[in-house]
Symmetry: C2
């Protein structure tokens, strides 16, 4: 049974008793995962069981998720730019931005898209309050026109359209996570909040997914990193999206209250050390689990069991720490249905374990079954084996078979390497709590998403900049995921370094040679206005980083970007967090093993295409490589040159490793094409623009003009 | 003039014009630091100029800093433990917790304490709302007594006392950042929120301080990492505490609005790429700066200047990108007093720079001075040199001397290494924007603070656990910082590996040999009830990690932990953020250069002591080392054994590298002492307790009992 089902299944509370394990199964139980999410949802309306996701529209939610981020959670320069746009009469120019990342995090080959729900909430609540506008007035020039502030006061996102990858989808470099369209001033203001809401959410979901892949489907993963989170809301975000990425529960109550994340928790060392052993319980009597039988003095019963346990373990009866035992009894009196032992406060073998066993056996005598133990120090794997061994012998000795399979939970700064050890074949560990290493993502604590203007007024826009990898791809794009018909992944194409080798690699997706369903082949980016790729039809694509095109015949084609908000209106209900979590696990299963590798994986291909039009377009998802130059041309297959305010085709030269500040004579280069709205004025100022002469498909040269020397502009 | 002064000094707004540089000085100006903080404060009451910090009590603030974290921002196990305490009748037992870290972050030798203000706000607003209690009822057993929930509803922090290091103080491993006392149930509930509020705040302040140390006092540092922050509130925390740690301003408007952090920002590449060059400004006319003279068509004026600039630079007049220039003109029309150029959208040398110069010179003709340029790609240092060179020649050519010193700002994933390069002697960079590398602390994204129970009902408590470094020091402590009379730091003691060498290292703090004032010597931890160290008196201390004691004669003794909240009442006003920032800079100046090193610094010593009592106490701020055993003794200097519920002295054996799971015969060991409330029952269950026999000060052996064999307990 998955945690999903558990969360939404019947709970103990509904059935009249409380046992956090009732729906979890013995071998992979939660620490104390509760049924909150199910009950919380039930209290808001119809249960989820027979309800389609579409029946839970965003608009119907009475803001159950806490306060949305506000418009001032943003960088000041958006406001100074807003004044600039407004003064220039451009506030309402239609504009398109795309939010994407340039490299997968953690050295892996995939990321999970997340944060959409928070973004939609942000858009829908976007309003500058009077206090916000007053603050802005205090930081802008005092002579700023009052009409500008009136404009700000009236702003909302009613003109904003949002397309996005569904939360839990696989995401790859260059493929937009969000496409945001609307009035230039507003969509510019959205930049930083959207980046803030998407970037960390996707990072943490991806991190959690990696940990889930390592742990395998059976181990229960508990996120417990709130105390190490980067700020209070960082903790809330981490708990929410580590659940989305594949964790089973969180220790963070606020994530339970606001987001419906299953919460879990038992006791800490401080609870145990707070008892010296001299404390007297105000009521040590406990009734049997079965019903209103005679109550028993649990503490006395425990002492009797301790003697038997110590004899069996070869310990002196005074060795186990009395304070620890009194603490266990106090906890058992509060949670007889869910007694839990934290074993390593003093000594696992000589104190924690015998004390736990004494209490568990005393409870067992009354019909209660202990639900788990936890270790927080030492060699976790080895101790788990030893403890399981003791459980088995004690279970046999005292005829309590349930004791054998009491879940063993571990924690203590567990990272990917330690997790792999704990999840190995034969491990007796059932539950793994991870804190710092899931919430702070120490391998790479930021995803580095960017939000780039790709068109204004329907005209593509791009930034060239001094760092080629920071250049952007112009034009609003459509994205498609091409799938083969097989269940296995395609052979990873190895792109040849020179064009003489393997000029066209055929990806292994031909239906006649592969019989499985749904494996991912590659993602294709193209301009939004182009016809989409068709299933079963051969397609030529230019994979990122490749020197040659390849052809692929997909069995299925999935459009990736869905329309969620149109002109401020929610178009379809957002999936619930649990649904996004399920999608994430489904998506990960479609990745080939080589793409799932956490170290040095095969890169998943994102390509430009298709070849449905006579003109070849090469899209480079990472921006122009350093060996690329953008230049207009009057030559080449299908090329046109016309700079008089009509879209023209631009030659896109990819040149092997050149230094742009020197003239060059590459030995090979090739030509592909790209749509770009090119005005005469746009042509100017491009680096390396003047003086470039196209010569042939296999060679070209650049004479870079020097100051004072001028440059010979290409015809434009 | 520091940013402090600038923030609280008169602003342009007050003087009728807006120029973000008016109070900043040309060589180290902000990008566009505003006078918000001063005005914001002024609008809330008397200005800060003549007001003492003490006049700003916490209680008088109408929550200007936004919503405090709520009680449910916590781990579930605090609530399950709360039920356990409550059921055991221990909810109101007086308890003491200490919050500290075990190792300085980033491999450095210091940290800055931060987050106190947020903690106090949290304590003062701590209340479980009905919705919170309802949520808790949904995750606790359904048969939980209603009286428990009544207890929760009535909870507040009126019984809580808080001692802490002032924000901005230097903090070292093991020295409590916070000491929290109060009813056991409540102070247990505070654990995770306080950790969450202190840990990241201190981490980010320390990170910012390191960056400030690298940058030196002259460069202006701007935090601009909100988009990469780990969650929205992570961004707010980062902006707030990077300012505390030494940054000058933040791009984050919310940090300005809620925390009074100076904010800064100008324009992004998207503003520039949004202009193609064909846009027509609705009002291109600009009046002179001096007054109501005839208005001038700025765009036309810029075109005229462009020709002159291009001739001078040897560029064709069509090379600079027209769209970029039109964007600059639009920005200049919105901010004539604060025109700013972002140079690298297309090409710095051939487009951004000439366009900036044309606009700046046109503005100059009208009496306005441009306030800065920014570079976001390429070799920032080299480009800054080149740009400064161009500024100088153009300034001379066109007789505009102010142009020479227009500030150059840079950004682009700047880390410590790149910052050191940018801050080197002769660098022409004036302003440095840092995002990801300040807010996410990628070198170490968490501080790892812990919150440990040290006493209950006046009785010390400790955890032993399986990992010696996770063991805690029992008892509520006092902490003192010992200072020499010199301005230089003491020689760093190098502790000898064997006791035969340097048995007592005298730290170099004798007043007769050092004449400067206020250098830090070391921190001393002792039990709260012991008399404090006295200035001028020799003191014996046991530095952490050292095998021997040393003596020190401090010129000054500073108690480190101040009482901020007593029984829920604020005892003294909290310093403002700006005051804490000033304290941080002051504190850092007291560190010796060797402790300030960012790589492999000399470790600052934290010692146990003093020797005012006949009994020696060795405190180990990192918990017991792995080579330590805690055992009772009837022998040794000053040792007493009495386990009948009175405090007794416990021998603390430190043994060189032993494996506790085997019997041992160390060749050397030595003895020191520690107070521990020792009950007969407490003695049991300690690891290695039974069978240990103390033999002498230089050798001992342990016969570990085996299962079934029993152990011979030491007399107790």
């Amino acid at each position: 049974m998955t945690s999903e089902e558990q969360t939404h299944g019947p709970t103990q509370a509904q059935s009249g008793c409380w046992d956090p394990l009732v729906s979890g199964g013995r071998q992979a139980p939660p620490l104390a995962v509760t049924g909150f999410a199910a009950r919380q949802r039930a209290s808001r309306g119809p249960g989820r069981g027979g309800q389609s996701p579409a029946a839970e529209p965003m608009a119907a939610e009475p803001e159950p998720e806490g306060r949305a981020a506000g418009p001032l959670l943003s960088d000041l320069y958006h406001i100074t730019m807003a004044l600039g746009y407004w003064r220039a009469g451009r506030a309402r120019d239609p504009a398109d931005f795309e939010l994407f990342f340039r490299a997968c995090p953690f050295g892996g080959a995939f990321a999970l898209a997340a944060g959409l729900r928070d973004c939609v909430r942000f858009l829908r609540s976007f309003r500058l309050r009077d206090a916000d506008v007053q603050f802005l007035a205090s930081v802008l020039p005092p002579d700023t026109e009052p009409a500008f502030f009136d404009h700000l006061r009236a702003l909302d996102c009613s003109g904003v359209t949002l397309r996005a990858l569904p939360e839990g989808s696989l995401a790859f470099p260059g493929v937009p996570l969000l496409q945001v369209s609307g009035p230039l001033l507003v969509v510019q203001l959205l930049e930083t909040p959207l980046l803030c809401l998407v970037s960390y959410a996707s990072l943490i979901a991806t991190n959690a997914a990696r940990l889930r892949l390592i742990a395998g489907p059976e181990k229960r993963l508990l996120e417990m990193g709130l105390r190490r989170a980067q700020g209070p809301d960082g903790g809330l975000t981490a708990s929410t999206y580590s659940y989305l990425g594949g964790f089973d529960a969180s220790s963070n109550m606020l994530a339970g209250q606001l987001r419906g994340v299953p919460v879990a928790g038992t006791l800490a060392h401080s609870f145990i050390t707070s008892f010296s052993g001299t404390e007297v319980s105000p009521d040590p009597m406990l009734a049997p689990a079965a019903g209103p039988g005679p109550r028993v003095d649990l503490a006395a019963c425990v002492e009797a069991w301790l003697e038997r346990v110590c004899v069996h373990l070869g310990l002196g009866v005074h060795e186990p720490h009395r304070g620890e035992r009194v603490a266990f009894v106090a906890y058992a009196l509060a949670f007889p249905q869910a007694f839990y032992g934290l074993l390593d406060t003093y000594s696992v073998q000589r104190s924690g374990l015998p004390n736990f066993l004494a209490v568990a056996l005393a409870l067992g005598q009354l019909g209660y079954q202990a639900v788990g133990v936890r270790l927080d120090s030492g060699d976790l794997l080895q101790q788990a084996q030893e403890i399981r061994g003791v459980f088995r012998t004690i279970a046999a000795q005292f005829q309590v078979p349930w004791l054998e399979s009491v879940p063993i939970a571990v924690s203590n700064n567990i990272d990917e390497e330690e997790l792999a050890r704990l999840a190995q074949e034969g491990s007796e560990v059932n539950v793994i709590g991870i804190g710092t290493n899931v919430v702070t993502c120490p391998r790479q604590p930021s995803l580095g998403c960017v939000y780039k203007l790709v068109s204004v007024g329907g005209q593509p826009r791009m930034k060239l900049t001094e760092d080629p990898e920071k250049q952007t791809l112009p034009g609003s794009k459509a994205a498609f995921r091409l799938l083969g018909s097989d269940g296995e992944a395609p052979p990873t194409p190895r792109w040849s370094p020179s064009r003489s080798q393997a000029p066209h690699v055929i990806l292994g997706a031909h239906p006649t040679t592969h019989t499985h369903t749904g494996s991912l082949l590659l993602d294709v980016l193209q301009l939004a206005e182009e016809p989409p790729p068709q299933a079963g039809q051969e397609l030529r694509v230019w994979p990122r980083g490749a020197r040659e095109s390849c052809t692929v015949r997909p069995a299925h084609v999935e459009p990736l970007l869905r329309l969620w908000v149109q002109q401020g209106q929610l178009c379809e209900p957002l999936p619930s967090l649990a649904e996004s979590r399920a999608l994430a696990q489904l998506s990960l299963r479609c990745l080939s093993p080589a793409h799932r590798w956490l170290e040095q994986p095969a890169l998943y291909q994102v390509g430009g295409g298709p070849c449905h039009q006579p003109t070849v377009r090469a899209l480079c998802p990472h921006g122009l490589p350093s060996s690329s130059l953008l230049l207009p041309t009057a030559a080449g297959p299908g090329g046109q040159t016309d700079c008089r305010r009509r879209p023209v085709r631009i030659l896109w030269w990819r040149l092997p490793e050149i230094n742009m500040s020197h003239s060059l004579s590459p030995t090979t280069c090739y030509v592909s094409f790209f749509h770009l709205a090119c005005h005469p004025l746009d042509c100017q100022g491009l680096p390396g623009w003047a003086g470039i002469r196209s010569q042939s498909k296999s060679s070209c040269s650049q004479g870079r003009p020097r100051p004072g020397q001028g440059g010979e502009a290409a015809p434009c």
